[in-house]
Symmetry: C2
Subunit: 383 residues, 2 copies
């Protein structure tokens, strides 16, 4: 009868001097939680770990005030069951207004899945596949290198060096930020393509900065390159802008990292004019109530003509890699150089031609990523 004995809640800085077109990351933080069970293996209690994805701040107070107390009181009938935990955590929460609390629940959901897979003694992707996909696992997952941030004094030469280093580490497809200035961004794109070759190896990300007029001006300028994708041109909730943009931009687009519930993501599917034959959905479970909610989103896709293959989640973390492998998503983001140690995958898994393999330890795979597990253990004072 496994049960939770303790939950620890810590904050670690992931500050950086990088910036995108919308925010700088100089004060960014992440929550780390440890959900400790009464299941012992090799003389130690099994512990599930979770953290929040980048771009949103550590939801420390929300975890402490509402979600950890509710999870501690949850009656899961002697199993560690993330779906039951989710209902317990969300009791007496009103519908709508999905933000911040969605991050807090996402952190705990990650830890619960990690723990559930450790108790089952299987990697999380296997648990997911067994539960929802007749056991089928994709053993090699498409990943692209997300970087190309703006930082003070960074010129095109430095951008090229950065992209070359992603190339050297096996990434075919790379992503850079746009949105500061069209002329400057086109020079950056030209410089990037000198390293990456074909436009299909380059994605660009505006981080929701543009109004419709600017979004279209960029679309016209980007069109000749046939890029891998043009990401989050406008405000993430401005589905009308996304829809209008699809009328003038014939190539791939991507959005969804700032939609934090299946209801919000459904509105993108309903109103955003996203095209299943070329566009990408980037909902990130770690910002949006975790895998329990992400599964609700995935289950909506067929009704709107999409499939799991349209999904390449934001966040570059191992949780989404497990989901990609277990549910058969189109791929996953990767941050080779930023948001360390939360970005990146198991130590032994090298990227080749933008494909990465999977860990073999039970759980999310944190124990095979030495820099991450050591930070999580030390932040939560667990072993």
């Amino acid at each position: 009868m496994p049960s939770i004995t303790e939950i620890r809640n810590a904050v670690v800085p992931i500050s950086s001097d990088i910036s995108n077109a919308y925010i700088d990351f100089s004060a960014m933080t992440a929550s780390v939680v440890a959900v400790i069970s009464d299941v012992y293996r090799n003389g130690k209690p099994l512990v599930g770990y979770g953290f929040n994805s980048n771009g949103r701040y550590a939801p420390h107070g929300l975890l402490a005030e509402r979600f950890i107390p509710r999870l501690k009181q949850a009656d899961m009938g002697g199993v560690i069951e993330p779906e039951l935990a989710w209902e317990a955590m969300m009791v007496n929460e009103k519908p709508g207004g999905h933000g911040e609390r969605s991050v807090a629940v996402g952190v705990l959901d990650m830890a619960l899945w990690d723990l559930a897979a450790k108790i089952a003694d299987v990697p999380l992707y296997q648990l997911i596949a067994d539960r929802w996909r007749n056991g089928t696992v994709d053993n090699s997952i498409f990943v692209y290198a997300a970087g190309g941030y703006y930082y003070p004094g960074k010129g095109e030469g430095e951008l090229q060096k950065e992209l070359q280093s992603y190339r050297d580490r096996g990434y075919r497809v790379c992503k850079i930020k746009i949105g500061a200035d069209l002329e400057q961004d086109l020079a950056r794109i030209e410089a990037a393509l000198e390293v990456l070759g074909d436009g299909r190896n380059l994605a660009v990300d505006a981080n929701g900065r543009f109004n419709l007029e600017t979004a279209i001006a960029y679309a016209e300028a980007l069109k000749p390159y046939n890029l891998f994708w043009y990401e989050e041109a406008g405000d993430p909730l401005d589905f009308a802008l996304q829809s209008e943009l699809a009328k003038v931009y014939p190539h791939s687009m991507a959005t969804g990292e700032n939609l934090f519930s299946h209801q919000d993501a459904r509105n993108l599917l309903r109103y955003g004019n996203m095209r299943a034959d070329r566009d990408w959905l980037q909902v990130d479970c770690a910002l949006s109530y975790g895998l329990v909610e992400y599964k609700r989103f995935v289950d909506l896709l067929p009704e709107y003509g999409f499939s799991v293959k349209n999904c390449i989640p934001h966040g570059g973390h191992q949780m989404s890699l497990n989901i990609a492998a277990g549910l058969g998503l189109g791929g996953n983001e990767s941050y080779p150089d930023v948001f360390a140690p939360f970005g990146g995958f198991a130590d032994g898994c090298a990227v080749e031609d933008s494909m990465v393999g999977l860990h073999s330890c039970p759980g999310v795979g944190f124990e095979e990523k030495s820099n991450l597990i050591s930070v999580m253990r030390s932040a939560t004072e667990t072993q």
Copy 2:
């Protein structure tokens, strides 16, 4: 050169044994903040107070972790200017994902407007009217009595007594909860109408509980009563449900209390098939980034065929009463008996035929509501 010297952040319980169709309020909390200035009047520093509206929890951690530190560091150039403060509080916050932080900013925005009006030595509604409406103030505001909650053992007799007591206090229009069970709810409605008379004196609120099928079943059953409104039938982000419902329900509907940004509210206007000649928009500034953001929402209305007269905010607090008077909204909610002391208006302002008058002291009017100002002063240890 007014400036902020200190900001205090407290939490008070507003727990109650009431429930709506979605949540119970047994663990509900509210934040209270005091923004203390270096402007002295009668030997004391002017203090602006703010609190969060009901239905969402005290955003204590968010206030302490991000929004109060940013506000303390804000450079407003020697004035207390809520619009500049807003920009400072929202720096390095990504777009989308509007929830929780919208409540935290709403609490501080309320305190900043209270303080700005006190420094200007005018009631807040006058400051609002001077800024945005050529000084015109509506001196009498429509209010309805929101109550009719479910609580253990409450029968139709108790419901009638409750409604009669609202009647005795001057409310013509009252609101009750629905959503537990159609047959039971129809009995409650019949009982309510015995007290209230005409269907136009009764609003019903489902709190986002229904799927489309249930929403339509209720619509068909409610149709003969021609009620004041049928509120939040489905999930607040399910604009398609709202739109479908408008095709079968010919009378007034209301929604919007769980839309926490102008972008979310704009999607209701774009996709919800709301009808300007009969429907009501309930966006509550105290849950959704405050008056600075609410004004952005109000400014969108004409583009979609609506006006300020379509707005009757959720929350029953003095902040929205000031906005209603200063901008000329259609009215405001009122909680005569619940969420005390945060609900309700100035002590001397009796309700007559569902209309209420205004306070005359500078600011939001807290100093003329004795039970509220004493809680806020004691929670924040201010005078």
